[in-house]
């Protein structure tokens, strides 16, 4: 009896804490959602907490009065190109480090790790000069190429830990059968590593989607803005149109929220492989 009450009490505390935490994590997002559905007159008063009559005016305004469709397209293009280039370059390097015999493999891993540690601000002004010289300001290349560089360490670490798990015997047997190392990589290791590559892809994509400092510095025309820059430069000089701002943030976070809900497992495995192993 006594132990049963204790167990019930423990379970209630557990669920109370868990619900509290989940609410804390979701609340800003939900509050933004509610705000985005309120007519402008209800936004500047509290209560009511809930919109008395949901409206979609702010969403229309975001797409009609502001080029948010364009910003989203820019972000999709930049993040997708970054993911593709980063994974092709990174998986090659990760495979070589994990499976081929050569000196300095640990040095390369260490180098990748130290790159992931340095502050973006330290490289921003020389990068800006390089990008100006190459004529890449306000181009996709001006973002994709630096993003690829700075997402490479993450990709290399995750993929290295994935390739390392695949037995050496597979590699050696394929060599004996007359494959070149590159063929082994493409035909055997890439398919086997597909889940790990998926995890790395999601993480690189989110990194590129969220990056702000370089996007702010290397683009100047409105047509080239990515989502974080558009959100940061959203308000006018004197007042923030809160309803539109709320609608805009909901529009740009919904894909990420869905991504997380669908690929939770994969994201967890990728994040932890990249940060904990080694």
């Amino acid at each position: 009896m006594d132990s049963r009450t204790r167990r019930v009490a423990r379970r209630s505390i557990f669920w109370a804490l868990l619900t509290g935490m989940a609410t804390f994590c979701l609340l800003p997002f939900l509050w933004q959602l509610l705000t985005s559905l309120k007519p402008t007159s209800e936004i500047s008063t509290l209560p009511p907490l809930l919109p008395t009559r949901p409206v979609f005016d702010h969403y229309l305004a975001v797409f009609q009065d502001r080029p948010f469709g364009r910003f989203i397209l820019n972000s999709v293009i930049v993040a997708s190109l970054t993911t593709v280039s980063c994974l092709s370059i990174g998986s090659l390097a990760a495979f070589a480090i994990a499976k081929l015999q050569f000196r300095g493999r640990n040095l390369l891993l260490f180098l990748a790790l130290s790159i992931s540690m340095f502050p973006p601000i330290a490289a921003v002004s020389p990068l800006y000069l390089i990008i100006r010289i190459l004529g890449w300001r306000d181009t996709y290349a001006g973002l994709v190429v630096p993003y690829t560089t700075f997402a490479l360490p993450l990709a290399i670490w995750i993929l290295w830990s994935v390739f390392r798990e695949i037995p050496d015997e597979l590699y050696l047997a394929a060599l004996v059968d007359g494959c070149t190392p590159f063929q082994v990589f493409v035909r055997i290791f890439l398919p086997l590593a597909a889940p790990g590559i998926g995890a790395a892809a999601i993480l690189v994509f989110i990194f590129a989607w969220n990056e702000f400092l370089y996007a702010l510095t290397f683009t100047s025309s409105e047509a080239m803005r990515t989502i974080p820059v558009a959100i940061a430069l959203f308000p006018g000089l004197h007042e923030v149109p809160w309803g539109e701002m709320a609608a805009a943030t909901i529009v740009v976070t919904t894909p990420l929220v869905l991504l997380v809900l669908f690929f939770q497992r994969r994201i967890v495995s990728g994040l932890t492989a990249g940060s904990v192993k080694g």
Partner: protein, 291 residues
């Protein structure tokens, strides 16, 4: 044996090395070089001054304030994130219905772009119609609304709150992996020996989790020390520079007042600080590993 692998290996790592060399290592060396110049291109000023920028930096009160702001922000936010992350990890570790959904929900703040989360918090912290003031007044903790982002003391803590919200999930994930790597037999053996919950945590969970705690701390401290986007959007460094961080100060020098030389010196100083922090953590991790 297998000597012929050097050539394919070189070809495979070459693209990665090119990218990292040209766009990471070269820029950082170049930034260091520029930091030895007095350079303001708009006025056509550019000449070598050696370590003058660094000498100036040591006496620049704004640099030291941004340094202390950054350190305070990092210390407080990382400690809170560790506490909250540990609690979250322990909650999410057990098996219960809907665990996958809860894990996904907890991940949402981490996936949302920092700039967007800054906007969400700006709205919640709004002095006139923000949710936080409203809730605090409803439960009777506040009698009149507070101006969270306009107050010299509150603004820094508002930043910390937003950062803790955004990144505790990341800490929780790393610690969750650690928890899952502790073999169940250890717990069973301890229970058979009659150990209490607290004893089990202190003697088994904590020591085995320690490497993961250190790694989470390393990543979070580095991220906190280079914080830029959250501050840029939420406070812009204000009020009266009380929330200006090192990265934000360097950014303003570089791109607002166009002092490329001195701005680079501040950026390099930020880099060196981050380097020192990671060296300290890594030596701690090493000692943990061997001892």
């Amino acid at each position: 044996m297998r000597k012929d692998e050097i050539r394919p290996a070189l070809l495979m790592i070459l693209p990665a090395c090119l990218f990292i060399g040209a766009l990471a290592i070269f820029p950082i060396l170049h930034a260091f070089r520029i930091s030895l110049d007095r350079r303001m291109p708009v006025f056509g000023i550019s000449y070598f001054v050696g370590l003058d920028n660094y000498r100036f930096l040591l006496q620049d009160p704004r640099f030291w304030q941004s340094f202390l702001n950054t350190a305070y922000f990092s210390l407080l936010s990382v400690s809170l994130e560790l506490a909250l992350g540990l609690l979250l990890a322990i909650l999410l570790h057990g098996s219960f219905r809907g665990r996958g959904l809860f894990r996904a929900v907890v991940l949402i703040p981490w996936a949302i772009p920092t700039v967007v989360s800054a906007r969400m918090w700006e709205w919640i912290l709004n002095p006139d119609f923000g949710l936080l003031n409203y809730l605090l007044q409803q439960i009777g903790l506040l009698s009149s609304p507070l101006n969270w982002l306009g107050d010299r003391v509150l603004a820094m803590h508002a930043l910390i709150l937003a950062d803790v919200w955004k990144t505790s999930p990341f800490v929780a994930l790393i610690l969750l992996t650690g928890l899952q790597m502790i073999p169940e037999e250890l717990y069973e053996a301890a229970r058979v020996d009659g150990a209490g919950r607290w004893q089990i945590f202190r003697r088994i969970t904590f020591p085995l989790l320690l490497p993961f705690i250190l790694i989470a701390l390393l990543f979070r401290t580095l991220d906190a020390f280079r914080i830029f986007d959250l501050v840029y959007v939420l406070t812009g460094g204000g009020p009266a520079n009380t929330t200006e961080t090192l990265s934000l100060y360097a950014y303003k020098l570089l791109f607002q007042t166009l002092q490329f030389g001195y701005g680079s010196a501040v950026a390099v100083a930020t880099f060196l600080t981050v380097l020192l922090i990671s060296a300290a953590y890594i030596s701690l991790l090493r000692r943990q590993h061997h001892g």
